[in-house]
Symmetry: C2
Subunit: 148 residues, 2 copies
DNA sequence: CAGTATCCTCGAGGATACTG
DNA sequence: CAGTATCCTCGAGGATACTG
């Protein structure tokens, strides 16, 4: 299966992976969430090829994750902003940070804090009904007949 | 930057990505979380090359995400089980499902339910201190001086 | 500054045959 | 059944020069 065929499969993991599951996309998004919205600073910070970055920004824009907005007139320049669909990827990004903090680094390179209260933002799996915190053993999965 | 160089960078996102950020790893883990622990059924369901699957299982085992356990004697056979470090990836997997459900599919191919209560498991970003639900605008990030 | 256009490399992944 | 061994392809990504 080629990478782009993931988008055709009836699985939400695969379909999401078709959008973010390559070497650079999540790191580009990390920069955007961090407040970098422009081509040059992102390219420089990541050390990514310019053609590759251009391709990623285009595909994220096509997918509706980013929005390309003009910020200057002469010459016309654009910056990239998260759409609501893009903002919805924030828990995913924090989940990546959280797992890395717990298992892949000694001391966390980034510290997150809830503005005001100062507490630590955490991604947790909870039941929308009873609000219990859940592990995978508390969860039962039912697959649709046409699920991949 | 080659894929494996992600592991050397001082960023929890990149370090996590070094483990799960390729075409197949999260889909292999999806199968394991689903209860498939053996080579043959995973290979068949995913349609992944046997050499590729073997390589992924080995790297996940090396990283301590999976554990290779003998389940038969003659001939000796092994199955792959999630370690606690691997179980910690469950919120990440659910985050992928959740985003895909919301934005990439019409009807969710998999339905999750909290055993007993029947409610929907959800990944949410909350403050560990005050328990408020947070968006990225509520979060302030502070970078260590040596952060990538 | 924000890309596009080219060219190139290399390694991830596919396919298949084989083995204990 | 659970891999290993080989060979091969192709496309993602790197590098660099160029442009409005």
């Amino acid at each position: 299966m080629r990478h782009d065929e993931l988008a055709d499969v009836n699985c939400s993991v695969a379909r999401t992976w078709a959008v973010v599951g390559d070497r650079w996309t999540m790191l580009v998004l990390r920069e955007v969430f961090r407040g970098q919205r422009r081509f040059e600073p992102i390219a420089e910070r990541l050390g990514i090829g310019r053609n590759v970055l251009a391709a990623r920004l285009r595909s994220l824009t096509d997918e509706g994750v980013l929005e390309r907005v003009a910020y200057d007139d002469v010459p016309v320049r654009h910056e990239y902003r998260l759409t609501p669909k893009g903002e919805d990827l924030y828990p995913l990004l924090v989940a990546l940070i959280q797992w890395g903090d717990a298992h892949q680094v000694d001391t966390p390179p980034v510290t997150l804090a809830h503005r005001g209260c100062g507490g630590t933002p955490e991604v947790r799996l909870r039941c929308a009904e009873c609000d219990d915190e859940l592990t995978r053993r508390d969860v039962e999965a039912t697959f649709a007949s046409d699920a991949w």
